[in-house]
Symmetry: C2
Subunit: 156 residues, 2 copies
DNA sequence: TTACATGCAAACGGTTTGCAGGGGA
DNA sequence: TCCCCTGCAAACCGTTTGCATGTAA
């Protein structure tokens, strides 16, 4: 995985290539996106950027996010919690894990599903061009913190 | 797969078991949920129910949906199109396909991923209790209707 | 008869938009 | 300098809530 600064520079160059200007606010947003492993919401990105630029508007965050999304440089997730979440580190589809208790969102390594993308893309009748695999459950921290009663594989 | 009427009766009995009343509006909602293969939104369910009960309120649809969701009798999806979609025919997780052009949502048969649920549940470190696999692409109808340029496996 | 469901309207919260002023290139 | 970007506020829209009335059991 590339470093945070490498990814920021990559995004800067892609924006410049689209005749977009690199403002201090945008740079701060890019840095949050490139460094956040926990798939932040717009509100969370906004909160971090505000630390450096207190006058920042949430509309600016939305506009930059929208720009990057159109360019295919970040993945948008709707986990049904009311707000969307974003992965700006790795815009290529990969499995995610959402803890039912603390709601943290992490990348998930599933070795036996490593080639799921190729398998899906190879299907001839449906022309699959992208996917999202989201898994819900209990993260190690929450599992350790409390005995758990939920078992089996239920809805969503 | 069970018939529409069988599924409606099943839902009726589960609601009765929770001391819920079976009103004509609810019965109509159950019928739409049990018969819709295309994973309707609340607005779409509302439109169908209104055909039989013109005075129906959308709040009633939301309340019944919420009830069934809590009972685990339907799956809720957020595909990022602004509204949630529901599967009341089969509340057990299974892959879905969303057409990028006509936005239809269908169940997807992926034989080689038939045991994905078991594989995920068997993972010891993360206690996975549910999942959603959503695939985006071009449905046969849209593919036939127009030449397509999109290839590869891009973001979500 | 009575507790629950309905339907209306207002509230809510995340997202989008319009616009005047500011600043990157 | 020029055009894009910012920040504010209002609009937007799916969803939730409160409450008086209606109705299933």
């Amino acid at each position: 995985m590339k470093t945070v600064e490498t990814r920021v520079q990559e995004l800067v160059e892609k924006l410049r290539g689209q005749d977009c200007r690199i403002t201090p606010q945008r740079l701060a947003i890019l840095h949050v996106l490139a460094s956040s492993r926990l798939h932040p919401s717009v509100e969370q990105i906004f909160a971090k950027v505000k630390g450096d630029f207190p006058t920042t508007s949430i509309a600016t965050v939305y506009k930059t996010i929208s720009l990057l999304k159109e360019m295919g440089e970040l993945i948008e997730f709707s986990f049904g919690d009311g707000s969307n979440h974003y992965d700006g580190r790795d815009p290529f589809p990969h499995p995610h894990f959402i803890c039912r208790f603390c709601h943290r969102i992490e990348d998930l390594e599933i070795p036996e599903l490593k080639d799921i993308g190729a398998r899906l893309a190879a299907r001839s009748d449906y022309r699959i061009t992208g996917y999202q695999l989201n898994c819900w459950g209990i993260c190690p921290a929450c599992h350790a913190a409390a005995g758990q009663t939920e078992t089996g594989l239920g809805a969503g």
